[in-house]
Symmetry: C2
Subunit: 226 residues, 2 copies
DNA sequence: GGAAAAGCAAGAGCGGTGCTCTCTTTTTCG
DNA sequence: CGAAAAAGAGAGCACCGCTCTTGCTTTTCC
């Protein structure tokens, strides 16, 4: 967080914030691919070329929205998780928080977990905030150790090595098999949310709330939470 | 399938096919939101306005690509499923087929299961071909009955009613709890594939093949396949 | 304090897009 | 054959991302 010293810097920070705010508003209305820098500028009463002083391209603006969204989701998830609660409660709360966040901001969710925006490749700086949710999942699993045994079956050596590397890199105390379970339930969680948001459950589990709660309960059991 | 009688109708069908073909080619290169009707027309050596005689809008062209893609995926999945094989083999083959299909056509996969195309809402005619994969999942489960018991826990009455309605509508002989398990593993499957394609496993389960196989094996157990 | 440097807003302009309209040509069919 | 239907081509509209130039303001530094 760099300190703001001059009035110009203050104005710049303020306007940067306003641009993102307006962009988020339009994103919610028309979606990421229809998000127009010119329209944002118009809404803010400035020339379109002026916006380029703040974001060098439309993709850079989208990147800013992505990192903000990851942070917003991370905040929501971490706020919903009470480390003192029972492991299954923690897991249910996390899942519900992800789902609520997604339902309230479908377009932002799509920005994070839908198709990568066309022609756009996620820059490295979006990686760190993007891991907060899965880290929280892993933390819940770690705090709940020893986990109940999983389905039997040996772990592929390659997978085992990957999981050991992840645990080492993140400092988590999780056996490879446990880390794999975390990744599995994590992807399952977002598979469910994505399917609900993008209409795949239309006509079957519709509304998807009951299936979601049932599925997350089952995932807690699969994960081995006591 | 309406019969083609005149030369004009034949030419129309042929050109319709060529437009879709070229559009698919460009889709693979630049993604759905960058897909340009004008560029398609240019590649085909025709005026952009002429394409509108075949597809009244860009969205209609995308819809055609979507239904084609659903059919292509459905074909691949059904071709990969040998009803005479053991249930777990059937399930593994289905999962592998979905993954292969997706990896070979990431942009088409994104069109189906990524964010809905901006400003675009899936028209009803895409619903039917979109259910082929989940129907095949359900078929495998049905053929494998009796399924091994799931994790204990009562089913929410609302969910139970939804699942019973689905089973009735599709003619599947699946208990509500079993139908719910099918939906869960189905969404899990696409959660995994989507995460791999959209880069969420980058840095952890990377490459994602081992995790994918492990996860699908576990899902087969969860589903209760013998 | 005042000049130089840096930052900023605005406008014009380029090439691209989806889509519509009009005009001409080609094909079909009574 | 001739009318009607279908198809192609081109111009044009409004919008887009992005660049460049032109003035103006603020900051910086001597």
């Amino acid at each position: 967080m760099t300190a703001i010293r001059t009035a110009r810097e203050r104005a710049r920070a303020e306007l940067t914030r306003e641009i993102k705010e307006e962009a988020r508003r339009q994103l919610a209305e028309v979606g990421s691919a229809q998000l127009s820098l010119r329209a944002v500028a118009r809404a803010l009463g400035m020339a379109s070329s002026a916006v380029y002083r703040y974001f060098p391209s439309r993709d850079e603006l989208l990147t800013a929205l992505i990192t903000d969204a990851y942070d917003s989701l991370g905040d929501a998830v971490e706020a919903a998780d009470d480390p003192a609660a029972a492991p299954r409660e923690r897991w249910s709360s996390l899942c519900a928080a992800v789902r609520s966040w997604a339902i309230e901001r479908p377009h932002e969710y799509a920005l994070l977990y839908g198709s990568p925006v066309p022609g756009y490749h996620a820059p490295p700086q979006t990686v760190a905030p993007g891991t907060r949710v899965v880290l929280r999942c892993a933390l819940i699993a770690q705090d709940a150790r020893p986990l109940r045994p999983a389905f039997p079956g040996p772990l592929d050596p390659a997978l085992s090595a990957q999981m050991a590397a992840v645990a080492a890199a993140t400092g988590l105390e999780l056996a490879p098999e446990e880390a794999a379970r975390v990744l599995i339930v994590w992807s399952q969680l977002f598979g469910l949310v994505g399917f609900e948001l993008f209409g795949q459950f239309t006509g079957s589990a519709d509304p998807a709330g009951p299936l979601f709660r049932h599925a997350t309960d089952q995932m807690a059991v699969y994960l081995g939470l006591p």
